[in-house]
């Protein structure tokens, strides 16, 4: 099928590149600065994290890298059961 007719696409000009680079640079610098302002730490709600007070597939909060004994989590708000589970589960290894 190599003899199919190819469409004519506009070639990229040096001006295109410079425009994209200039706009992109400014945007990304802004993002970087804005990121610092947004960085106030807080936790996910249990609903957001799909938390359940029972294990899933053998996975339980007590075996998670984010677990904080006796009943809390580094990233999920509220009281957390050691036998619970949520979507942020990360095995300790």
């Amino acid at each position: 099928m190599s003899d199919q007719e190819k469409p004519t696409l506009r070639p990229v000009s040096r001006r295109d590149f410079l425009n994209v680079a200039a706009v992109g640079s400014g945007t990304l610098i802004t993002i970087g600065l804005a990121g610092r302002a947004f960085a106030a730490p807080k936790k996910f709600s249990q609903q957001q994290a799909h938390y359940q007070p029972i294990p899933k597939s053998g996975q339980r909060c007590q075996a998670c890298a984010l677990w904080q004994s006796p009943t809390s989590c580094q990233v999920v708000d509220g009281q957390v059961s050691p036998a619970g589970w949520c979507m942020l589960y990360q095995a300790k290894g």
Binding site: M1, D3, Q4, E5, K6, P7, L9, P11, V12, R14, D16, F17, L18, V20, A21, A22, G24, S25, T27, L28, T30, I31, G32, A34, G35, R36, F38, A39, A40, P41, K42, K43, F44, Q48, A49, H50, Q52, K56, S57, G58, Q59, A65, V75, M87, L88, Y89, Q90, A91, K92, G93
Partner: protein, 453 residues
């Protein structure tokens, strides 16, 4: 004597301006720091080895949850660039367009992303604009927009969603299927086998589709929907060749099922996929016939954490394709036009990748691959067989996957070295082109740098 040559004198300029320094994909790839800012988690929380696109269990949940999980306000923009130097065992004759016969240093890809969630029900990942430094062209790239809600199904906490995407398998949360499978970055500089299946990326960017899915009990995944072709004008506007591969007749149905559970202390997944498509080649409907493709596949993956920062992952995929290119035959795009059955074929493809990540920084991967199928002299040169096989090895270093970059937590980079060895290439081990070329002549060493912000 060979010379290293930059793709063009100014083609690396954006990377230089954007990132200050650049040793900066033909193959789509993604690592999106905007999501790290949104979730308050570093790249390693969602990505194995601290860099995209291989997803951890949480990364899969975040994706299937419609990218809506949010801890902080965020600016939903990211950028990425990949540059590489490639050496093939023998010079390429003729050399690739604009490039040398060997030892080419190129900007493979630079992309701008919009990525984030809106409220509790909408989110997306849009690789909005990509510059292909080898093809020297702009186009849109992977798009995955979602609407989701939580539900109880069979008493289990579940997620129901709808995904709008422009590349079948880009919406998949496992790294077994083509869009996000290993190798996560490669280049268009070196030669690759001629035979590939439709699902391997032929439709990427050339279709749009909607699929509905259920993530039932966070264990069972069921997805179904279809893809169709945008208008020729719309595809030209987004920088995609509307004639390749052509226009889909009606809808191309796509389905996917998978099951995920803990096995041997790791997260195990097994699944299957199906894609059927009838395509008017080159958008030519004059014969009333269409090319028919049926792809079905099986896949499995396993990911295990070892210690605090090490991990072992394994992915394997088998895909079968049956093709009947009756329209291409009638149009004499394949064969001489006298037999509409001139390209009735099948292909079988295997791919696997075993990867170890040490301390979340150093990764080593071995990835064997094989494609084989029926002999057809209308489709393939040489001995008429599509067979190719080999193995790719990769060593990569990701110094700041833990969000500890000196340029801030949004900046991440990976340095890597790939080596591809071919056992067979386009049908044979030796003299595959009947002009003296051997499969091993295409063995390639690639050194790459991949930056995301």
């Amino acid at each position: 004597m060979t010379h290293i040559r930059i793709a063009s004198r100014w083609s690396l300029l954006p990377a230089v301006l954007l990132f200050g320094t650049a040793l900066v994909v033909h193959r789509p790839a993604a690592a999106v720091p905007a999501f790290a800012q949104q979730t308050g988690r570093n790249c390693a929380a969602c990505h194995v080895g601290g860099y995209g696109p291989e997803l951890t269990q949480f990364g899969r949940e975040f994706k299937l949850g419609g990218y809506t999980l949010r801890m902080h306000g965020s600016v939903p923009l990211s950028a990425m660039a990949v540059a590489s130097w490639t050496h093939t065992r023998k010079d390429q004759i003729p050399p690739p367009d604009h490039l040398n016969a060997n030892d080419n240093l190129v900007l493979d890809q630079a992309s701008l992303f919009v990525a984030g969630g809106i409220g509790d029900h909408f989110g997306g990942f849009a690789q909005l604009v990509t510059y292909d430094g080898v093809g020297r062209s702009w186009s849109w790239d992977n798009i995955d927009l979602r609407a989701v809600t939580s539900a109880k199904i069979f008493g289990e906490d579940s997620v129901l969603g709808v995904a709008l995407s422009n590349n079948p398998t880009v919406q998949d949360p496992w790294n077994t299927l083509p869009a996000w499978g290993f190798p996560f970055t490669d280049t268009a500089v070196s030669q690759t086998p001629a035979a590939a299946e439709l699902i391997d990326g032929a439709l990427a960017g050339a279709v749009v589709g909607i699929t509905g899915y259920g993530w039932i009990g966070h264990k069972v995944y069921v997805e179904g929907g279809g893809y169709t072709s945008p208008s020729s004008g719309a595809l030209k506007f987004v920088g995609v060749d509307p004639t390749s591969p052509g226009s889909v007749h009606g809808l191309a149905p796509y389905g996917r099922i998978a099951y995920q559970n803990d096995v041997a202390g790791g997260t195990f997944e097994v699944g299957g996929n199906l894609l059927k498509a009838a395509i008017f080649p080159g958008r030519d409907r004059s014969t009333g016939l269409s090319d028919r493709y049926t792809d079905w596949g099986l896949d499995a993956s396993w990911l295990k954490s070892l210690g605090k920062t090490d991990s072992l992952s394994a992915d394997v995929r088998f895909e079968h394709e049956h093709g009947d290119l009756r329209a291409s035959c009638a149009l004499a795009l394949v064969g001489d036009g006298s037999d509409i059955g001139c390209a009735n074929y099948h292909l079988n493809e295997w791919r696997a990748a075993v990867r170890y990540n040490w301390r979340g920084k150093l990764g080593i991967t071995a990835s064997p691959f094989s494609i084989s199928g029926s002999r057809n002299f209308n489709l393939y040169g040489g001995n008429g067989r599509p067979d190719s096989n080999g193995i790719m090895g990769q060593i990569d270093f990701t110094p700041w996957g833990g969000g500890n970059s000196p340029l801030g937590p949004r900046f991440n980079t990976r340095f890597g070295l790939q080596y591809t060895v071919y056992g067979k290439f386009n049908g044979m081990r030796h003299n595959f082109d009947l002009a003296g070329a051997n499969a091993a002549d295409n063995n390639a060493l690639r050194v790459f740098t991949w930056i995301a912000f």
